[in-house]
């Protein structure tokens, strides 16, 4: 059997996490290749809708990365993120999709290594969860 290779979406905010991802790349840190990075202006622009759409279309895991609390370019953008993402993850659980398929973390522009670590861990976690059951569901 082929090893399961999860398909992962990582929303990274432009000001910190995307720069962190960039740094990880420049430093040639080794990372699993399963992650599709989507650059957004702020982690607060990751509305739960996007996560729901992705998950209901079969994405195996969604990472939301933003600046550390206090460092958001828009001051309190990530406060919003910090509240709405856990709620969205729990809601997925309520309808039977493992909430661990969504993870929120903070990665600054200087934390290339943290980016590497978060991505690697998350890919491992999602591998353990197996494929998103929504892949098999046709509405």
């Amino acid at each position: 059997m082929n090893e399961f290779n999860p398909n992962i979406l990582a929303f990274c905010c432009n000001w910190c996490s995307y720069a962190g991802a960039d740094l990880a790349g420049v430093n040639r840190l080794q990372m699993p290749p399963n992650v599709n990075v989507v650059r957004v202006m702020c982690s607060a622009s990751v509305k739960p809708e996007y996560i729901f759409k992705a998950v209901s279309q079969g994405i195996d895991g969604v990472l939301v990365l933003g600046c550390h609390i206090g460092d958001c370019h828009y001051l309190t953008g990530n406060h919003r993120t910090a509240k709405r993402i856990p709620l969205a993850a729990r809601l997925l659980g309520k309808v039977g999709i493992d909430p661990r398929r969504v993870r929120l973390d903070w990665v600054s522009a200087a934390e290339g290594e943290k980016f590497q670590q978060v991505v690697t861990e998350f890919v491992e976690d999602v591998k353990k969860l197996g494929p998103n059951p929504m892949k098999e569901v046709r509405f």
Partner: protein, 258 residues
Amino acid sequence: MRLAFEEKGADYLLATRDEHGNVAPVLLKKGDEPGTLRVDVPYQMAMILTKVNKFVKEGKIAVVARRCDERAIAELVKRDLLDQSRLNLIGLACSAEQVKECRCTDPCPSVVDFGECAEPSGDDASVARLLDMSLSDRLGFWIAQFRKCNKCFGCTLNCPVCFCDECLLEDKTFTPEKGIPPGLAFHLIRAIHLADKCVECGECERSCPVDIPLLSLRKMVSQDMKELFDYVSGDSERRSPLLTTLEGDPMEDDANVC
């Protein structure tokens, strides 16, 4: 009813009355012939109020409100969609059957003018049953339910706290323009948008022509709101935690409604 209305010194009365054997909302001015007023069928008065507000710009409105109407009105007032100073609430207590149907834990209005407060219902058995299932069984359950959805928007139109002019659910990014059922994201988006507003009136579940247990889903989200933020919608004092910073201050930006 007439008495309650005049006693409270309002210029209008918003109530429901018998219309050709059905129940419909009616806005009465002082001296209007009231017809047969009825209080036995739940009606979303908060939602009607936002409509009435568009053409009745002055004067006080007395409105017959159950506990959930009262809480829905509180949510709308907090968002500046209604003006509390122009409202007079006439409290209506729900009957024991209605309380049972909604599995309502908070059925008693702050002032009771009609009816008698029934015992609140305990924890919702259907929610407990769903939470007991394994994840895959639960997914199976909801997929089977959501497959029945015919995208009639009944749950949205009748909801007292659904107020956006442009509905995201009509946006083809999230809901396919053609074809039913609309899929899983449709229901999740609705659930999360109402997370900090839903007053568990049960109207969505009653409106749904295909009997999707929408109220159970709402109750699960309310439970999360309670666990994560210790917040219960309908609280007239507290701003929604989704609209405040981690310290509880209002957000810097002006997105303070939804």
